[in-house]
Symmetry: C2
């Protein structure tokens, strides 16, 4: 006998859950289309060399690798993962989008506003609420180097979240160049910046003392660390933090200031705040970064940023790019809890038929159901079984409020 359960860390989606997911996707797509974003699709599978190109940070360790096939596979001579496998399941949508743009550039507008929605896979250790296959919803603007890209991405994403019924979320923004300037200002050499940012990224979990401790363990100079933490602390507070940050990196601060000023008006149901502690994990970010936090626990429900160097790895010449990704699975979890008791809008009608119903009568029932379907109802057949009460109970549980039967007097309602 075969196993009944889905593979470890993956899941089956039940009809009522899929219905919520499709409604969420529909709102997101409709909103983004309204802003002129064009839907695209890339294969779920990409060349392994592309996926392991050091763009995805830690996610590259989590790739599902696909065995070579046919003549390309020689189990006698090939014995390393890189030799045995040639493809992998994508771990995000940004790397595939970059390849897509490079491949299809001639057929796309020179400033390309893309929307991509699809599954991604990561072989993470399974834990509650995290899955090894999950959906991402990304919008990206390729070919726009100015802050107009950030403004449109933030405005559209806040509108999508607002249309989904989320209120009072916070969009935190920062700039990777700002982080680098902080590090330089405090005297850290560039080889140590990544480790510094990884520690800073944990601030909300381990606090200032935890970050200080981690940096000390990694051998960071205590005086410089103190200077860095004081700077971060100072810039975390006050409406004029960006003016003060301008002393460290005027260009990045001014850019953030403009984005903040415009989106404070254009973005919906949210606050925009400068957060000097925001890091974002991916190695590919080069400028503005942003993240949306929702609710009392500040759950991250969306994030993104500018990645001006990635396209250059495909094209030779650099092309600016900036993207925003909605954490679809978290949104669905939040909305499931918000809308638990929502009723379906379509009327559902079941026609109970005897298994020995005559051909003519079955034709009559089907004609009647097609007429009612044209009027916007859901109509289906249900075969009469011995336990009639159980059948009615099951149909009512499925939302069939109108139940019909054919007898000598024609089609009549069952009470």
């Amino acid at each position: 006998m075969f196993t009944k359960t889905p593979p470890k860390g993956m899941r089956d989606i039940l009809p009522q859950d899929l219905s919520v997911r499709e409604q969420v996707l529909d709102v997101i797509k409709t909103t983004y289309r309204g802003f002129g974003f064009l839907g695209i699709e890339t294969p779920c599978v990409e060349d392994l060399g592309l996926l392991t190109g050091k763009q995805g940070g830690d996610n590259e360790k989590l790739i599902f690798k696909i065995l070579k096939r046919g003549e390309k596979l020689d189990l006698n001579t090939q014995s390393e993962e890189g030799q045995l496998c040639d493809l992998g399941l994508r771990y995000d949508l940004t790397v595939p989008l970059s390849r897509y743009y490079a491949c299809n550039q001639g057929k796309l507008p020179s400033v390309f506003k893309a929307m991509q929605i699809g599954n991604v896979w990561r072989a993470e250790r399974p834990q509650k609420g995290r899955f090894r296959q999950f959906v991402q919803c990304d919008i990206d603007i390729i070919g726009e180097e100015s802050y107009l890209a950030e403004v449109e991405l933030i405005t559209a994403t806040s509108k999508a979240l607002s249309n989904l019924g989320l209120k009072d979320f916070v969009i935190r923004i920062n700039d990777r160049r700002m982080l680098t300037s902080f590090a330089e200002y405090c005297g850290f050499e560039s080889a140590r910046h990544e480790a510094l940012f990884i520690a800073l990224d944990k601030l909300d979990k381990i606090g200032m003392d935890g970050v200080r401790e981690e940096l000390s363990q990694h051998g960071f100079d205590a005086d410089k660390t103190e200077k860095f933490l004081n700077l971060i602390n100072d810039l975390t507070n006050g409406e004029d933090a960006l003016q003060r940050a301008a002393k460290v990196n005027a260009e990045a601060a001014e850019n953030l200031q403009r984005i903040k000023a415009v989106t404070s008006v254009s973005a919906h149901d949210c606050r925009i705040v400068f957060d000097p502690t925001l890091v974002r994990g991916m190695n590919y970010y080069t400028g503005t970064i942003f993240e949306v936090s929702y609710g009392d626990f500040g759950i991250s429900v969306a994030g993104g940023g500018r990645y001006d160097k990635m396209l250059g790895m495909f094209l030779g010449t650099s092309v600016p790019a900036c993207g925003f990704s909605i954490g679809f699975e978290r949104i669905c979890t939040i909305l499931e809890q918000m809308n638990k008791d929502e009723k379906p809008t379509q009327n559902k009608i079941a026609y109970i038929v005897d298994k020995d119903i005559s051909v003519e009568n079955l034709q009559k029932v089907l004609a009647d159901s097609e007429e009612k379907r044209q009027q916007g109802n859901v109509c289906m057949l249900a075969k009469k079984i011995k336990n009639f009460g159980f059948l009615l109970k099951q149909l009512r549980e499925q939302g069939f409020e109108t139940i019909l039967m054919l007898d000598n007097d024609g089609i009549r309602k069952v009470d």
Copy 2:
């Protein structure tokens, strides 16, 4: 530099093509929902043991296999594909649906009408119009042993195809039990039936002489072969073919007769015909089988049948099941050719802005665009570039018929 092209046999989908695909999916989903089918989703990845369980016929040779991860992988001791891999990409939606039903039976109606739409993968030799990742759209009725299942599947699928704009298609029906009875009637032993049906399946490509030749090469008895081909030939013609077929298998013939009689009225824009040469490749079919042919060349655009034994392999007890699958990729190809010159229905508005536009003016533009978006328009920003004529040309090519600019007099139209 990274490679720009998608993996061999896979493809990137351009915005205009995705738009057609999403419209097709929308029509199919809306139609099937109207018949009470409930959407479900299973992971793209399944246990390799499940996928190689001899249900999928030749498709099992085409599975993309996924390398084990972490401690489960030991390249020193494991050297066969079955040891190295534990998962695979699904090659159809029927095997996963069966596992899904077995796993979630307690949460589903006792007669379960499922709709599943998703990608499947087959490592076929790439050829024109065939891809290694492609979409299938399936509906299935689980738990209904009577012909009511076939009637509802055929009625709903013909309605979906009709709603998509396809007319004059033919639904051919047959029964696996009928094929078996043909073979027994002609004296072939059961071990040879599969080879016999494989040859018969090629009739439309190689003709009667070709089938005779192939059977002769496989050592089939010439007299029996002649009897078989005469029987098939006889039953291919005439309105009363099913009455004559009843002499070989009365139960199957009567069942087909009833399905044909009901769906001749309930199914839309199509003809229903009995086709004694219809075989269908999958090993899992046990009863009725059907296939939809479209156009002068009789391209197959949908197919399915009854598979009453598959659920038993998960549950121990047998549960009847019957399904119909629309060949989504072929439908898209047909519709792309039919609707080449269709116009988008939404009005598209572009706001050209200078990169040095003031914060206040940008806020004004965004407010105006949000207002127009609320009225159902697509609105986006486009940054002014030196070559203004090129910008206008690109925007018009993208379908932006209304182009606006902000100057001292406010927002005005560009001619």
